[in-house]
């Protein structure tokens, strides 16, 4: 092996090779933060014109922004951080992307090869630290491996069930020289993700679907990631079957369509949860029957139904719920095949059974489980803000959210008609993602309306990014639903801990208007219901301004409907029930 650090003709440095690789992958933005171990890389970055670097104020935000860029565009997001604390700061962002299967490549600097294992300054075993929360990771030990490793990293991140890939690169490797040769394709004997579904299983699924008396279509984040929204709409319209989306799947089916029965799960609609429970044939697409979606699996399985499950990841099938017809494959190609089979099929769905089923669903709908008491003229209801946000943005914004009550209200009241418009941390539930998520979306779509729906708890977890937004002139609108509580924690404490509001009140909040103004942004305080709509219109009219909207909302509002933890889907509590809060108390245990 040639260990010399001499540059031969035609050779470039490891750092320059990284730049060229990113260019080969058509990377437009790299979100990052410099530091000792990545100084060579940042020097090469300084000299290149391939992509734009977005300097964040904390590495966590770099990864979240890259993650959102990917969620909004479908491309692989890229983040660059230094070793040690830079790398560990990135871990929350990586775990967030992992839980939601977001394709991302995170390049982390590492101490020089000779210093690894010596407890060197800013050393952390990044490959070890991130192993449980990445799809795969690499430690590069030779400059000649950079190009092939990055090629693999992008391929692994984006193919099969997508996910984040970490590439850890020691500093000396970025200073060494090698020829640049970017592989055209990747062949890995150990990694061959399935694409097409089994045609026999697909035929069987179509047959079962056509025999259904009480059918239900349940789709998740996998449908959005697999860009199969058009195929789903076609299938659902052909069959006239009801559709529900998970939190991660919102926008997969147009929310304003009559066949859409709303989101399901812990805070899903009465009609979606009941239809899920009572259906006789369930078509699950890119969804994973997780605990926030079906509640108690034993309760869910206590009634018989035939389950067809399409997913690109075999390990998602029959993990929590045993399914009858598993189909492993890309959701887009499988649904496409199902549509072709249906088009050629003479048999039609059972019209009279379907009519009865829709009548039942419409009875459930008539409960208006998503209604709230909006009669107060003095207190702003958070749901009202989201409804007006939907109206003012004509349902066409990118909505990012943080985690908590505001997230659920955004999911319930903003009617997403398109996929990749709803950007939130569904799996890991990471507070603090909202603002960096909005940055990623706004950079991807500079002319789009981007709103970050957040709470006063979450927004403070990455508030430093107001500075990044200033630097890059990002005209994001922050919709802060400020109830002075960690609302979802408070809600559970009210229901299940006899109103002992342990550490869930947010005292000593900053003056958000002044804070926003100190960064050169526009700040607004909105305290009356009658001011909500006008303020939103004013804010969105400022197309080139970052506007921080501080809505003072009802402190005691709870998210309904609610399926208490560990309960079944048909055991939900409705907000319209005058004793809803008491009912929730009783559900404890």
């Amino acid at each position: 092996m040639d260990d010399s650090n001499q540059q031969k003709i035609g050779q470039i440095s490891g750092a320059e090779i990284i730049m060229r690789c990113l260019h080969e992958e058509n990377v437009k933005f790299v979100f990052g933060y410099p530091g000792g171990a990545v100084l060579h890389i940042y020097d090469a970055l300084f000299k290149q014109k391939y992509f734009k670097h977005i300097l964040v104020r904390h590495e966590q935000a770099a990864v979240h922004a890259a993650d959102a860029f990917s969620r909004a565009t479908g491309e692989v997001g890229v983040a660059l951080v230094t070793s040690g604390p830079g790398a560990t700061n990135a871990v929350t962002g990586i775990a967030t992307a992992y839980m939601d299967s977001i394709p991302m490549v995170v390049i982390s600097g590492q101490v020089p090869t000779a210093a690894i294992g010596m407890d060197a300054f800013q050393e952390v075993d990044m490959v070890g630290v991130t192993r449980p929360c990445v799809k795969h990771n690499f430690l590069i030990k030779d400059v000649r491996d950079i190009a092939s490793t990055l090629k693999k990293a992008f391929y692994i991140a984006a193919s099969g069930r997508p996910g984040p890939v970490v590439v850890d690169i020691p500093k000396d490797i970025t200073a060494d020289f090698a020829d640049f040769d970017y592989p055209k394709s990747v062949e890995m004997r150990s990694y061959t993700p399935v694409t097409k579904g089994h045609s026999g299983q697909i035929k069987k699924a179509v047959k079962i679907l056509l025999e259904a008396k009480r059918p239900m279509i349940y789709t998740g984040g996998g449908l959005v990631l697999g860009d199969a929204s058009n195929e789903l709409v076609k299938l659902a319209r052909t069959l006239d079957y009801p559709v529900t989306n998970t939190l991660m799947g919102l926008g997969g089916y147009p929310a304003t369509d009559n066949q859409y029965v709303g989101m399901l799960g812990m805070h899903g609609t009465f009609e979606a949860n009941n239809a899920m429970q009572d259906c006789d044939v369930l078509l699950a697409v890119g969804a994973r029957f997780d605990d926030r979606v079906i509640g108690n699996p034993d309760h869910f399985l206590s009634v018989p139904r035939t389950i067809i499950h399409i997913d690109v990841d075999p390990s998602s099938i029959s993990k929590r719920v045993k399914v009858d017809v598993p189909i492993v494959g890309h959701v887009q190609s499988v649904l496409g095949e199902m549509n072709e089979l249906l088009a050629a099929e003479t048999k039609k769905p059972d019209a009279s059974a379907l009519k009865t089923w829709w009548a039942t669903i419409n009875d459930w709908r008539a409960k208006k489980s998503a209604s709230y008491d909006g009669s107060s003229s003095s207190i702003i209801k958070p749901q009202y803000v989201i409804e007006k946000l939907w109206e003012v943005t004509k349902g066409d914004a990118f909505i990012t959210s943080d985690v908590g009550q505001h997230q659920m209200w955004a999911a319930q009241y903003y009617k997403f008609d398109k996929p990749r418009r709803w950007i939130n941390s569904g799996g890991l539930g990471t507070m603090g993602v909202g603002l960096p998520y909005a940055m990623g979306c706004q950079l991807a779509y500079p002319n789009a309306q981007v709103a970050c729906v957040t709470g006063e708890g979450s927004i403070q977890m990455n508030i430093q990014e107001l500075s990044t937004c200033k630097q890059f002139h990002l005209p994001i609108k922050v919709i802060l639903l400020n109830n002075r509580y960690l609302g979802m924690v408070r809600q559970w404490q009210e229901f299940f801990y006899e109103n002992r509001y342990s550490e869930s009140y947010m005292d000593s909040l900053p003056d958000f208007v002044k804070l926003a103004e100190s960064y050169g942004h526009v700040g607004m305080n909105i305290e009356k219901p009658t001011d909500v709509e006008g303020a939103l219109q004013d804010a969105f009219a400022m197309k080139d301004k970052f506007v921080f909207m501080n809505f003072m909302t009802d402190q005691k509002e709870n998210v309904f409907p609610m399926v208490p933890n560990g309960k079944g889907l048909s055991e939900m509590i409705l907000g319209s029930d005058p004793n809803a809060n008491d009912a929730a108390d009783e559900m404890e245990g």
Partner: protein
């Protein structure tokens, strides 16, 4: 000793899983990490390179219900470094484990230990004034039986390799 596959799985069965993976740094930790992260049980795990030095073969002895074993296989297959996974219990297979046992060998015990070792087809591979070291191979249950046949007080030290397994006849795990 041979083990054949029982016709019916019990609620929680012992399984021997064989896998081939890229012989790369950290590959073992990915498998071990998967088992601890998802709360799967590992009874033993052995690993060594194969005749093709780019591949390692691992044998994992675990236990779980059918559903858990199915998930374990799927999750192992999902690891990017894993090339092939085989649940040996899906067919006929042979299991072998090596054990070294150091036993007291003084007075009457000297003859007694030799005799028990012979019965189990063990070999005495080290002889000292007060002890023998016995080498024994076989299935895990044979090794267990040997230890049970000994009086606990005569056992000075034991070391076991963990099981290795291979399919019978045409069952071949190869890339």
């Amino acid at each position: 000793m041979q083990m054949t596959q029982p016709t019916k799985w019990k609620a929680k069965m012992k399984h021997i899983i064989s896998l081939l993976m890229e012989n790369e740094a950290g590959a073992l930790s990915r498998v071990a990490g998967l088992f601890s992260a998802r709360g799967y049980n590992i009874e033993s795990l052995t690993v060594a390179p194969t005749e093709d030095a780019t591949l390692s073969r691992m044998t994992i002895v675990t236990s779980g219900s059918d559903e858990v074993i199915e998930q374990i296989i799927k999750q192992l297959n999902k690891l990017v470094d894993v090339v092939k996974v085989l649940d040996l219990n899906d067919g006929r297979y042979i299991e072998r484990e090596l054990m070294l046992v150091k036993v007291k060998a003084t007075g009457a015990l000297r003859e007694e230990m030799k005799r028990i070792s012979d019965i189990f087809r063990g070999r005495i591979i080290d002889v000292a004034d007060g002890s023998y070291t016995i080498e024994l191979t076989g299935s895990g249950s044979k090794l267990d039986a040997f230890l049970e046949a000994l009086d606990k007080t005569v056992i000075l030290e034991t070391v076991r390799t963990g099981a290795s397994g291979i399919g019978r006849g045409d069952r071949i795990l190869k890339v």
